[in-house]
């Protein structure tokens, strides 16, 4: 039976990063994913650590933060490792659609709720949002596109907002994907640009829902900016995420081009474990159970949403390798009394505990599986939602896991 150098289980940003890193190191990689992963939901810009104020130096800020949070996944590689991983991520995207910080360190970008969120690397289609101010920004809502409410955004940002409809296409009932596709067509976006221009009152920045094209976002940006003579930016909204989908497609295209085998749509349901090693995993595509073998494995199956962690009425488990999950003592302690708390609900900090090399360890610190590494949000001791560190954790740990796995 064919043996791969590496099998990555999970097609979220962590799994994709691990796979790509391994491929670039010359490994023969098999990637398995039950579904598209959270890139299609939230991935739009790259959040690393929201606590670092805009304008502050990321290196020192993150390093200090890590020192105060020694159990955090970021402690496995520190800022140097995070930075290297982020650099590699950026290299995957060739100009003009690139990811970069908007200023020094973090920036604040407007969201679909009209709030501001700290983020680090932005795609070029979002950069202009980081500098937006109430006086010079116009928010464009698209009538009938309900997952972005322009009035909510402009109301909270206290700037002007306009809702457009394009009669020829009738935007009612169109999905985000349908809109993004229309944007990829020059005549459509030219018409939109004209419509926006006719509503402008001297604004220098235009905010739109994050549907600025799937295939050609840079072209969409270019057209709109040329016609409106303003800076244009897209604003993250309710799922699905078009910017995240672009990232997913880029990774997939890259991996297939480089000869990796990409199996999307079915879960790995069991692992063959012997003597502290994983000998193979089994993919379930009913009625078939297909075994795959590799020298090494990376588990990047996500948290509850991705199925990496499962919770019944009593406890949380990791269903594939059956790794122990660090978790609160009982279900009664999973969630706090109030929804909004300064700290994350304890259940969100549950996960797999690893050593510095991202290998899973037990409570005594002994390595459970020598040829398995763990990456991404499934790791314990982080609160990616509150920290605004989801993408950073995925990229940094995915990168490290692959490098360490292939070094051994």
């Amino acid at each position: 039976m064919k043996r791969w150098d590496l099998i990555v289980i999970g097609t979220g940003l962590a799994g994709l990063t691990a796979a790509r890193t391994a491929v670039e190191m010359g490994a023969k990689v098999l990637v398995i994913g039950r579904g598209m992963g959270s890139l299609a939901l939230f991935g739009n810009s790259i959040d690393v650590l929201g606590a670092i104020p805009p304008g502050a130096d990321m290196e020192t800020g993150v390093a200090d933060w890590i020192a105060a949070h020694p159990d955090h996944p970021y402690a496995r590689m520190g800022w140097p490792g995070i930075s290297e991983a982020l650099g590699a991520f950026r290299e995957l995207f060739s100009p003009p659609y690139t990811f970069a910080p908007a200023g020094k360190g973090n920036s604040l970008i407007p969201t679909g709720a009209g709030t501001m969120r700290p983020t680090y690397l932005l795609p070029v289609t979002m950069t202009a949002g980081a500098g937006a101010s109430a006086a010079d920004t116009l928010i464009i809502g698209l009538r009938g596109f309900k997952d972005f409410q322009g009035d909510t955004v402009s109301l909270h940002l206290q700037c002007r907002g306009v809702n457009l409809s394009l009669p020829r296409y009738g935007l009612e009932g169109l999905s985000a994907l349908a809109l993004a596709r229309l944007m990829d067509e020059a005549p459509f976006r030219e018409g939109l640009g004209e419509a926006i221009r006719s509503q402008m009152a001297g604004e220098r920045r235009i905010g739109l829902p994050a549907v600025l094209g799937l295939k050609a976002p840079a072209d969409v940006l270019g057209t709109l900016e040329t016609i409106t003579r303003a800076k244009v930016f897209e604003i993250p909204m309710l799922p699905p995420s078009i910017p995240g989908t672009r990232v997913f497609h880029r990774f997939r295209e890259f991996l297939i081009e480089k000869g990796a085998t990409f199996l999307l749509g079915n879960p790995a349901i069991s692992a063959d474990l012997k003597g502290g090693l994983c000998e193979g995993i089994t993919l379930q595509n009913p009625p078939l159970l297909t075994p795959y073998r590799a020298e090494r494995y990376i588990l990047a199956t996500g948290r509850f949403l991705g199925g990496g962690l499962q919770a019944d009425t009593e406890k949380i488990s990791e269903p594939l390798f059956r790794l122990p999950v660090s978790q609160p003592e009982s279900r009664g302690q999973w969630f706090r009394e109030r929804f909004f708390q300064p700290e994350a609900h304890p259940v969100h900090r549950a996960g797999i505990v690893t050593d510095q090399e991202l290998r899973p360890i037990d409570t005594r610190g002994r390595i459970i599986l020598k040829n398995v590494r763990v990456a991404g949000s499934i790791l314990a001791h982080h609160s990616m939602i509150e920290e605004h560190s989801h993408e950073g954790i995925a990229i940094a740990t995915g990168y490290l896991a692959a490098r360490r796995a292939l070094a051994s």
Binding site: S38, L41, F42, N44, G50, L108, P110, T111, G112, A113, G114, T115, M116, R117, P118, A132, S133, A134, T137, G144, K146, Q149, G150, D151, T152, S154, L155, H156, L157, Q158, C159, G161, N163, G170, E172, G173, P236, L238, P239, R303, F304, L305, Q310, A311, T313, R331, G332, W334, F335, E337, R338, F339, F340, H345, V347, H348, M384, I385, H388, H390
Partner: protein
């Protein structure tokens, strides 16, 4: 802005609304005040069961007869508030055949039509039933929508001149010379305070009866009983499923539109706000009800909620005519020497009309009026206008540009025009008022997507009116929603929770106003 009326009704549950309508139909003007929205109390926190009365047939034949009588009346006057699901009383091996035999006899005696069914027939009708079922009995149970029922009563009453003030709280009773002549109230939204004078005041506040009585220095013996319920993501049965045994906790499953409501428990509640459903209650309901439908063990629940029922401790009634076993009507003049105030409490949702009838009969007598009750004859305004949830599915057909029907709630298929219509009526003052009046946020994701969209729709107006941030409303909604979902967070519901938190706290960086950075705008 003081107001005047003939009869002041305190409490906007089924009882209060029913009284208002009954008065209106007899030509007596009234004004109803309610501190929240309609059905804030037990009327809005029950299982939505249109009892056939069969449940009481063996132990309480009077109550059973009353139920079936009201059941028939409601079917006649409010068919559009009812889904005629039918019901089954299901016997499991441990229940034996004896009770079933008594049950059938007792139902016949109470005038309730029953249809004995074999296990095979029962399972053919309801495939999810426990295959070990030893028999079943068909009864004329149904599912009723309390909110629509109340709102319809209100609409009818309003059309005949009755008035209603929501979000209006009674802060004091106006008492002089041993006579209650009105109340002082406060509008909870605007803060405005004013007085309402009336010849008669009816305390129809259900479990809150003592809150009002206390304002006049009175009290009555009320114990508070909490009943908890679980809502499933999908509808488990076409009919109401009851346990054929002496009435106990955890023996009813009521279908409600696209979901099922499992219930209920009966625990002493500390106070009126003790709506928390405990993990023990959740486990109990799952264990007990999965005896009837085994799939419940692995079922996904979207919400848990509890209602507080008032249990009236034995009252010395001074007027035997008014008292039926199920509810209590107190004339405070006879009992406490205070003129002008009566209290009506207890009872079941579906006997509201009868309670109202008795109350208004009493009032008429006191007023020297000989006007008969018409509420059992006159259909409610929307009657005849059938509505099934299939109607909502039908709308998906028209999701074309030509029809422009924008769906706000994907889970429950609620289009924007439904919300627009409610807003046009101009009566809603809070987000929950809109949510009460539609199926929005009642589905799988419990408002995770649709409330954002709804607020967007509202923000269009808010901008025009110069109102501020709606995120306070959004965070308030999410906090309120939390109470219902927290008790059932495991399995798929926990995944849902991770999704919602990732969107609102993560992607949107939403936080309650006090701690949110840059809430007021951008620099």
């Amino acid at each position: 802005m003081d107001l005047q009326t003939e009869v002041l009704i305190i409490g906007g549950g089924a009882t209060g609304a029913g009284i208002s309508r009954d008065l209106a139909l007899r030509g007596i003007p009234s004004l109803l005040v309610e501190k929240g929205d309609f059905t804030s109390g037990a009327s809005g926190r029950n299982q939505g069961l249109l009892h056939s009365g069969a449940r009481y047939a063996v132990n309480d034949p009077e109550a059973a007869r009353e139920c079936i009588s009201e059941n028939r009346i409601l079917r006649r006057i409010a068919p559009h508030c009812i889904e005629d699901t039918g019901g089954l009383f299901v016997s499991l091996p441990e229940d034996g055949h004896e009770y079933r035999a008594d049950f059938i006899r007792a139902c016949a005696a109470a005038g309730i039509d029953t249809t004995p069914l074999s296990p095979g027939e029962a399972l053919a009708m309801e495939p999810k039933l426990n295959p070990l079922v030893i028999g079943a009995v068909g009864v004329p149970d149904g599912a009723i929508d309390p909110f629509t029922l109340v709102v319809e009563n209100v609409r009818d009453a309003e059309a005949r001149g009755a008035r209603f003030l929501l979000h209006t709280e009674v802060t004091d009773l106006i008492c002089k010379d041993q006579r209650i002549s009105g109340a002082r109230v406060r509008d909870r939204v605007t803060g405005e305070e004013f007085a309402i004078t009336a010849s008669r005041i009816i305390n129809a506040t259900g479990a809150w009866a003592n809150e009002i009585l206390g304002l006049a220095g009175l009290s009555m013996g009320i114990a508070l009983s909490k009943g908890s319920m679980l809502i499933t993501n999908t509808r488990l049965s076409e009919r109401v499923i009851n346990r054929c045994r002496p009435p106990a906790s955890g023996d009813i499953i009521v279908p409600n539109d696209t979901v099922s409501i499992l219930g209920t428990t009966s625990l002493r509640a500390e106070d009126l706000e003790s709506h928390e459903v405990t993990p023990e209650e959740v486990s109990f309901l799952v264990d007990e009800l999965s005896r009837m439908i085994p799939a419940i063990k692995g079922e996904r629940f979207t919400r848990a909620y509890a209602g507080i029922r008032p249990l009236v401790q034995s009252e010395q009634t001074h007027d035997d005519r008014d008292i039926s076993r199920g509810f209590t009507l107190i004339d405070h003049q006879s009992r406490d020497g205070l003129e002008g105030l009566i209290t009506i409490t207890g009872g079941k949702l579906i006997t509201y009309r009868l309670m109202a009838e008795k109350t208004v009969d009493f009032i008429c007598e006191r007023m020297g009026l000989d006007v008969p009750c018409l509420t059992h004859l006159q259909p409610l305004p929307g009657a005849g206008r059938g509505h099934t949830f299939q109607d909502r599915l039908l709308r998906l057909r028209h999701q074309t540009p030509a029809f422009r029907r924008e769906l706000l709630c994907d889970c429950e298929l609620v289009p924007r025009e439904t919300v627009d219509a409610i807003l046009r009526e101009g009566k809603v003052r809070e987000l929950q008022d809109i949510l009460h009046r539609t199926r929005l946020a009642k589905g799988t994701c419990q408002g995770g997507f649709c409330v954002y969209r709804l607020l967007g729709v509202l923000n269009e107006r808010r901008k025009e009116e110069g109102l501020g941030s709606s995120n306070r409303i959004l965070t308030g909604f999410l906090e309120e929603r939390w109470k219902g979902i927290r008790p059932v967070l495991w399995g798929t519901s926990l995944k849902e929770e991770e999704l919602i938190e990732s969107i609102y706290k993560g992607l949107f960086n939403l936080a309650p106003e006090a701690t949110a950075p840059n809430e007021g705008g951008i620099p």
